[in-house]
Symmetry: C3
Subunit: 341 residues, 3 copies
């Protein structure tokens, strides 16, 4: 039932140098350890290099430098992970979606569903929203007012676009994501909170991907913006009026507070937090669970936090850290009694 | 199509001192930088003061102290952010909702939907639940058993009230939020977990707001409680039997573990974590991503964590921190060989 | 309306030694502080021992060691919390669910719903998926392609099983959870991201529980696996190809990155983060908000982070920590000028 190809066809199609028998049938892809003689595998992360000599795979997509360690056929690539990704896509055919509006969907009379779009069961589309041709709205989605879902974009299932959310082309949004909810704007006045209206929207560029249960609030006055090819993992929170540059990727559970601007080609680690109203330049990497509390103006890798320890050791060190300033002052006074440099 | 007012009407309606021409038409609001000559803007955060002299806005809502730096008309306010919030609300008219039950909604025969309530598409309301007059249940919501949605409250879309959730008046719950799910109660017995039933409910006071994908578990025996005017941002987790005092605001991705009690007028920063079974007094501020591991009995601002650094520096410091206790002991022994104080 | 039992029946049914009058009627359960004369309560956490002498409860489930401090009847247990959990379950009768498919549900012709399963309102079940006998699919759920919901399992409401998700028996999944979404696999090539297909699935063992708005991604090539009796709280993120051992419990907002393997009987604290591609052995406890950045090979308790402090103190210590390595080097040079050990 799976698609079938051959080593030779793969080499031709993706422009890879094959060392091996072109006629060998390929019926799937698998890990180095699990692949059988009709499956392709790959080696990109050096941590798995030890598994290369014993793989039973039909062929391994790998760097030139690793080819001599392979036990059989190889496909040499300058970027084995990316080439393997393209090959693997042959073996996950898209789920067939029937164009048209499911009979249980509720489409506002002032909404537009273009020809060739697919609207799933139990979905609603609000006034002045437009679903472009080739777009897929999966089951259980809610598209509110004044939204656009661009050509070839997909809301997988149970996605909410609240209001004024404009998705570009080929954007993919995973279940449970909420785009365009009210930003968290509140003003204290005489002991109680006053809600600040959130009059902006959310703009998402072409080829962005947004993970499950991620939330992107709409802007207070201007829009919240993701440029093209931004990749967000699950459970990320993006505050109102944030701007994220093209090709930046953010791992799960990270959060960006309001009005912060992140550059292009940044990598934000899982669980990292970025405070509001700052700027991060292009090509910055933030380690997992770090907190960014000020602007970053130089490309590079940044971190905060402390290393994991056995709990009793941790407690002793944490107790010392609580008094570190006092300790440093005391030591400095003893070593530099006359305050020499 | 936008509402239109004048500077004079705004000044009168909100009790602000106008310095400028009352007849000027106002068609919207915008930031200092973006506002045009028919838009109002404001200055509250000093970080944006440099943008004041060049704004093109029709008028600026600002503090008395800033009025001389404004290039044109001003509306002087003791609280510019709150007054601007009230003005801005003129320009986001509520989405019209039709009272009544959508034909695709499923209402249990033992549920009550009062006159003037609006029940959206693909929503279900369970037995013994009551939707009060003027309440709005948006599309895709699930209201389970024994819930109350009070007058003028709104479940925006795809909200779940699982069981025994009672919302006061004018409560707003954003998409993806789950209130009243089982608290995380498990007891280990002979190597396996026994589930602890969660027999309580959730009580939410008047004027609370609950963000997208936030979760508030129902209590194990007593209820989980939010007093009035509590403001929760997105992706917050509130454990069973937590009590949160009135007017407390919590930023995105923060979490409060079970049975903890938080006072009134507290501000909890984004990503902060608060352990279970502790108490935090009124008027406490917790910085973003801090961890609160013990009760706090004095108002003030608290923090934990470490500052962001370039990664190589961070690694060196983190390695030293792992052995800080040992280092302090060694230094103390050298500087105080006879253990003098 | 509540169920009624007697002290004697409870003692018999759960094998507890009763000291008190067996005929006393029991109409519910409550905390030590709130319980009235027709309610049972329990004492397991020593922090609440001070409330024991004044409880008005009909009887207290407690350890032998506490019995003499009780003011009235007691049920002596070797594990009071677990026994109380079992007793309390008598007072939360399951919500009645009608077997059969709700008229608003949409079932693919190639899906199988076994006799005795219950499919709620506004739910959809995709091709080649199977809902086993006695399983409950609550309202607003989406079950995609090639999924299995095992006997007696329950999707409470608004749960999404995206693709290739196989749940064992008696699994309970809370609202907003998303299982089987695409893992976060992306490869950078010539300045843009290439999506890595996620060809695996998710396998969840018998008796697991999965909290509200938790996300578990499907594997890239192999499956993501939870062994039996794994308990996940709310808003947890489990990356692709993670394996979690039996009887492990994870508290709210924790996250596990891809391809990491966690052992059995582990306890992961709230907000903890575990990086990808590592292994954690059996019986490891991770404190709340700790970050695990390397494999753990010894059972025990581990922590990272710093203690909470008043903000001004925190700032001074954090500033010193930023230069800790430099300080240690300087002190060592002064105390060991000839580099003695």
């Amino acid at each position: 039932m799976s698609p079938v190809t051959t080593l030779g066809e793969v080499a031709d199609r993706f422009g890879l140098a094959l060392s091996g028998e072109p006629a060998v049938a390929i019926r799937g892809v698998a890990t180095l350890r699990a692949a059988g003689p009709d499956q392709l595998t790959f080696l990109a992360n050096p941590a798995y290099r030890a598994q290369l000599p014993t793989t039973r795979a039909a062929a391994v997509v790998l760097h030139e430098a690793d080819r001599d360690s392979a036990p059989g056929a190889v496909l040499v690539s300058r970027n084995p992970y990316a080439d393997f990704a393209r090959i693997a896509a042959l073996f996950e055919p898209p789920v067939p979606r029937h164009p048209g509006v499911h009979e249980t969907a509720v489409i506002d009379p002032d909404a537009v569903v273009e020809d060739g779009a697919s609207i799933g069961a139990h979905t609603s589309v609000g006034p002045r929203s437009r679903i472009a041709r080739g777009a897929i709205i999966g089951p259980g989605c809610v598209v509110g007012e004044d939204c656009i879902v661009g050509e070839g974009s997909e809301l997988v299932a149970r996605v909410t676009l609240v209001r004024r959310v404009r998705l570009g082309r080929r954007v993919r949004v995973h279940p449970g994501a909420v785009l365009g909810a009210d930003g968290f704007g509140i003003a204290m006045d005489q002991g109680a909170w006053v809600k600040v209206p959130q009059l902006g929207g959310v703009v998402v560029g072409d080829d962005c991907e947004i993970g499950a249960n991620t939330t992107i609030d709409r802007g207070a006055l201007d829009d919240t913006i993701l440029e093209e090819d931004v990749r967000l993992d699950n459970q990320i929170q993006i505050g109102h009026n944030v701007i994220i540059g093209a090709h930046t990727a953010i791992a799960g559970c990270a959060a960006v507070a309001g009005s912060t601007r992140i550059g292009r080609w940044c990598l934000i680690g899982g669980g990292a937090g970025i405070v509001g109203h700052i700027e991060i330049c292009d090509r910055v990497t933030i380690n997992a669970m770090s907190m960014v509390s000020h602007s970053i103006r130089e490309p590079g890798t940044y971190a905060s936090g402390t290393a994991l320890q056995e709990n009793d050791q941790w407690r002793r060190n944490a107790a010392r850290l609580r008094r570190l300033d006092e300790f440093v002052r005391r030591v400095n006074a003893r070593l530099n009694p006359r305050n020499e440099p």
